[in-house]
């Protein structure tokens, strides 16, 4: 199969950071208790449908709401439902079910799953997908007729599966797709194509993964609804807003989601989970996550049951003498994990432990700068591994129009222009012209800023203030699908905040 080469303008390639995840995979035991949040991944929170004191099996549905955009939630360990508690996850309060595990590793197989999935009717496959909980994965979910995304499967015109490792730390493709799994993956793609027959499937792989490119071009040869792309692994290639213009060469409706233009972006793991659900009948109860960053003794992958607390996962993995910061998923956009009793949920890909480096280096600006990363080439950093730590490396200064942020911006806006408007309180519709709503919060402008200005924060603040003034993102000229459903989901957290304010 022919491999198309694509890249986008802007962006920045993170290379040679220390603490990269190795190809090793660990299995982690089932903990004594699992805590399962009733909102995981994409969609609304679902009501608890089991009862306290009931014995449940792993893979049994304990939360489900067919009326709103959501996916079912499963028990992930065999045991007894102990209680339903309210936990706070990254500022949002979520109901969570606590299950006391009995330590067995079995799970309830989904009805109707079969190796001969091709003989199943599409409806049945969709039902299996929905019931397995796979549909909540990734940014916009997988569309089924069960209201698991904002659009229906027949509306999907493009499915983009991206396997481009563009972040500072990336999951290893050899771990995810090693051995037989690559065939499972292809099978998963075929299932998805059956569910969404109008869709073309686009598989994007980083052009640094030469072996996988050749493997795929061999395996996928002859499939006419599938295209293979080799992308340059520049951050933030993994964003829908960047993937869609790069691969489909069409404009992204900024301020809305990819589903609104009939595209679904999936990760490799999601496709594998699809395969697991439909062929092996395994509901989504386990994830593979990676441990990245210099804070870990060993940077490995791990297979973990959903609902396991992070404490349990990280036990004995962190270097003893280091002060570290735990970050979820991404070093640039991930949230800091302040509470290690958080349970793992469907949306976790990676746990990072970065060194909190408070050391004050002596005349740093005169050092040649080994072990350091810089967008500008004033550091001799190509030779050695670069450090990834949380020191700010400099004081905030007035912005000097160096233009770095504009060069790296993946959506071609001028971040510092918007920054200076917002900083001075010029909240006008000019900002919309300047493309403030195009910003995808990739934080890259912040990363490269010479003056250490939190540009991305300012842009976000600008967006909030604009919405406060009633200047919402304009709808694009073309038709969009499922916009109303999307808006209803998007506005939810804002409403919740307002209520809080009133009560306090």
């Amino acid at each position: 199969m022919k491999v198309e080469k694509r890249k986008f303008k802007g962006g920045y390639r993170f290379k040679n950071f220390d603490g990269q995840i190795t190809d090793k995979i660990d299995a982690i035991d089932i903990p004594e208790r699992v805590v399962i949040p009733l909102k995981q991944g994409f969609g609304n929170e679902v009501p608890f449908i089991s009862k306290i004191g009931y014995t449940v099996q792993a893979g049994q549905i304990i939360g489900r709401d067919d009326t709103s955009v959501s996916s079912p939630v499963h028990a992930t360990a065999n045991g007894v439902v102990e209680k339903v508690v309210t936990i706070e996850v990254f500022g949002c309060e979520v109901q969570a079910v606590v299950i006391k595990s009995n330590g067995t590793k079995t799970w309830r197989v989904l009805d109707g799953a079969t190796e001969n999935w091709e003989e199943l009717p599409t409806d049945k496959i969709e039902e299996i997908l929905y019931l397995s909980g796979v549909t909540a994965l990734d940014k916009e979910g997988i569309p089924t007729k069960f209201n698991s995304s904002v659009i229906t499967p027949s509306d999907v015109e493009n499915i983009i599966v991206h396997a481009v490792g563009s972040e500072v730390f990336n999951l290893s493709l050899s771990v995810l797709l090693g051995g037989e799994r690559v065939h499972n993956f292809v099978e998963g793609l075929k299932i998805l194509h059956k569910v969404m027959p109008n869709a073309k499937v686009h598989l994007a792989i980083g052009n640094n993964e030469k072996e996988w490119l050749t493997t795929f071009s061999k395996i996928l040869d002859g499939i006419d609804w599938l295209r293979l792309y080799a992308l340059e692994p520049k951050y933030p290639q993994g964003y829908d807003e960047v993937l869609i213009p790069t691969i489909l060469k069409r404009e992204f409706p900024h301020g809305y989601c990819s589903a609104n233009i009939g595209a679904t972006v999936l990760s490799v793991q999601a496709v594998l989970h699809v395969y697991d659900a439909v062929v092996e009948g395994k509901p989504l109860i386990e994830r593979i996550i990676g441990f990245g960053g210099a804070g870990f003794k060993e940077n490995v992958h791990a297979k973990v049951r959903i609902g396991t607390s992070l404490d349990f996962i990280l036990k004995n993995r962190i270097k003893d003498d280091l002060e570290v910061r735990y970050i979820l998923n991404s070093a640039l956009t991930g949230d800091t994990i302040t509470n290690l009793s958080y349970p793992l949920d469907k949306s976790y890909r990676m746990l990072l432990a970065l060194h909190e480096d408070r050391k004050r280096y002596f005349i740093p600006f005169m050092n040649p700068g080994f072990n350091r990363d810089s967008y500008s080439r004033t550091f001799l950093s190509y030779i050695t591994t670069k450090r990834a730590e949380t020191n700010v490396h400099g004081e905030e200064r007035p912005h000097v129009s160096c233009g770095f942020c504009e060069e790296v911006c993946p959506v071609r806006i001028i971040p510092h222009l918007i920054y200076s408007h917002v900083e001075r309180g010029f909240i006008e519709d000019r900002l919309i012209d300047f493309g403030i709503y195009k910003c995808i919060d990739c934080n890259l402008c912040n990363y490269v800023c010479v003056s250490k200005i939190p540009i991305a924060q300012y842009i976000k603040e600008g967006k909030d203030k604009l919405i406060e003034e009633g200047l919402e993102p304009p709808l694009p000229d073309y038709d969009m699908k499922g916009v109303e459903e999307y808006l209803s989901i998007r506005e939810k957290p804002v409403q919740a905040k307002d209520e809080e304010d009133e009560t306090s």
Partner: protein
């Protein structure tokens, strides 16, 4: 032709009416804070300066000089300027409302603007012919426009990124910007000479 071009360039670059003769500073200070206003004002100035130069030259050379009454030419010039501006404004308001909205609103501000009177006076002092007068008038007004528009743009930029001390905001910083601009324009010195 070459001489006309020389007058034109001299009026813009080397003998810029705002930066070398320091004229038209009142509206300069007031309007150089906003680019849109500065632009509208300077268009109006171009129009009025040319118009009044075109009227004042014949009045001086055909009426005042022959009758030996050049002593009152200040009065005549300023009255003609005031009246013609008012007249133009009325005509424009009545017959060309869109034009009026775009730059007619600046017309009343120009009535007592040094630039307009100064151009008329320079015509007399330098003994230009009619065509030369017109070219000089347009050139001077364009020179003024360049100065005010550039300063206004810098001012807008300062609104965005600057941190000007409190007491210096407004006129003070405009003067300093204009000073540096005048300094830079000295580089054109000697490029073209006027009579």
């Amino acid at each position: 032709m070459g001489y006309l071009l020389m007058i034109f360039l001299a009026a813009i670059l080397t003998h810029n009416i705002a930066l070398t003769y320091l004229l038209g500073m009142c509206p300069f200070v007031a309007l150089a804070r906003n680019l849109k206003t500065a632009f509208g004002m300077s268009i109006a100035v171009i129009f009025v300066v040319t118009l009044t130069a075109a009227i004042n030259w014949p009045i001086y050379h055909l009426i005042l000089l022959p009758t030996g009454s050049e002593l009152i030419y200040y009065i005549v010039f300023i009255v003609v300027i005031a009246a013609s501006v008012q007249f133009v404004e009325m005509v424009m308001e009545r017959f060309f409302p869109p034009l009026q909205a775009a730059f007619g609103i600046f017309l009343p501000l120009i009535t007592v603007n040094c630039v307009v009177l100064a151009v008329s006076l320079f015509l007399v002092l330098r003994e230009y012919t009619y065509i030369q007068s017109l070219v000089f008038a347009i050139g001077s007004a364009i020179g003024w426009m360049i100065a005010i528009v550039v300063v206004a743009a810098i001012n807008e930029k300062l609104n965005l990124v600057g941190d000007v001390p409190k007491g210096l905001k407004g006129p003070g910083i405009i003067f300093i910007i204009a000073g540096i601009l005048a300094l830079a324009f000295m580089g054109f010195g000697g490029m073209v000479a006027i009579k």
